[in-house]
Symmetry: C2
DNA sequence: GCCGATTTGTCCGTATGTATC
DNA sequence: CGATACATACGGACAAATCGG
């Protein structure tokens, strides 16, 4: 079964899964919606019925519903019911945000993907780096450049900065595989919040040499600042995408 | 006082405000964080203390905290406390997403802003329009083109599609002022969920004539599908931004 | 290493308000 | 008006994580 989430740490097999009643109910209802049991613009059963069905409390079910709402699956209407507003997205070539990661999208489309490490170094943040990354001047950082390939095309150019004190023992080999597997698996670190910013920038000389850019003169840039379970900002990543392979999804909900 | 939210319907003066205890507490804590009472990486008072202070229940306070968390203000750590992870963003010229709208950003920077209507028409969705907007073939739609100016520069080119049955009586005059004021004020419609997609596209001939593009060859495009309080998809908007005046913010939280 | 105090996380049951039909 | 359904709020209970003695 698929886990539709672009947030790296939300993938299956990473870290400890969300074992809680409300999350299980959320996943169950999500699958029932995606499976077509409840159709677009239709209503799911009432809270009372679902409480009976899942044998849980009112509050627990409401928590599950609130997560469904935040992810854009349903829309509750006071006095009427909870309406389904999710539709399958037909023609998204490459989706970031709520949907899936680079690797997941590749797997789903049966596209061969691989990652190569362009550079790996330990640095100390100077004024310039600190301003760009949000770290403090003097912080020791790993600086990693990686290139994501799809079907032999270099399409994403990632520049990561990791706080050494939070992610000790990082190596080029680990980085070529999966940093999150190392961070959550070996180090046992939990990751929680990610603040992301999307911009559009002119291509740099590095972009030109790193990516298969055709004649594109600009790239989509996702700047992601990630916090671990201690609330420490331990990573900043600049993800530079060729425009035609870039899509970013987001759901905004009133009152949340 | 400022309401920092880019989601149009979350602005002050639109519709009925969020009058609830948990939301008042959320706003209070947000202001205390932004005001510097609690500093970055510091802890806010414990749940028990805040329950005492705000004279509310455990659960109500937790709801306020969950909203703070979803907005990227705090990070709770089990057994320790709730850590502040919000920092003031220094050098964002123009921010979309969680922060503010075009109009708000202009007001904040003391920049004169205005909107001009480029075209206004009623159409019936054909196969092409339906596929692009998510409406059904045959739906009657208002199609509106507007240009947002800052300091005399045409920087954003908005193409809106409104469902006529949901937003009857729309006129060019209303559209030049504020659609949301009309929709929420006059029609009394509540707006709830907005699904947004960010892409980067080549400039079109329309972009060239509508915007002051300098030598940019691409634009940032925000495609926004908005649902009203009945869960009906009533608007799709394509917002085409000059790249250097475009920033999109987002906060992703594990378990939500 | 253990224990107890503190703090957050989850869950339950209940009551009341508000909107829809 | 009453029945239904979602929204908010309260209070209590226990689990899990952290920290200090």
């Amino acid at each position: 079964m698929l886990n539709h989430s672009a947030i790296p740490w939300a993938r299956e097999g990473c870290g400890i899964g969300m074992r809680s009643i409300y999350y299980d109910i959320y996943e169950s209802l999500r699958e029932r919606i995606e499976g077509g049991e409840f159709s677009y613009q239709g209503f799911i059963p009432s809270e009372a019925k679902l409480v009976e069905e899942y044998q849980c409390s009112h509050n627990t079910l409401r928590k599950a519903l609130s997560v469904l709402r935040l992810h854009g699956y349903v829309h509750p209407i006071q006095g009427k019911g909870v309406k389904v507003i999710w539709q399958r997205d037909m023609h998204a070539r490459f989706v970031l945000g709520d949907i899936e990661t680079f690797r997941e999208a590749c797997e789903r489309n049966n596209i061969s993907a691989c990652t190569t490490v362009r550079s790996f170094a330990q640095i100390v943040a100077d004024v310039h780096v600190a301003a760009r990354t949000g770290f403090e001047v003097g912080d020791r950082l790993y600086r990693v450049e990686r290139i994501r390939h799809m079907n032999g095309l270099a399409l994403i150019y990632d520049i990561n900065y990791f706080l050494v004190s939070a992610v000790p023992g990082l190596t080029p080999t680990i980085v070529e595989d999966s940093v999150y597997l190392y961070v959550e698996g070996t180090l046992g670190m939990r990751i929680s919040t990610s603040k992301r910013t999307v911009k559009v920038e002119h291509v740099t000389n590095d972009d030109r040499t790193a990516l298969d850019l055709l004649d594109y003169s600009m790239v989509a840039v996702v700047i992601s600042k990630t916090f671990n379970s201690d609330g420490v900002h331990f990573e900043t990543t600049f993800s530079r995408h060729r425009p035609d392979f870039f899509t970013f999804h987001d759901t905004a909900v009133r009152g949340y």
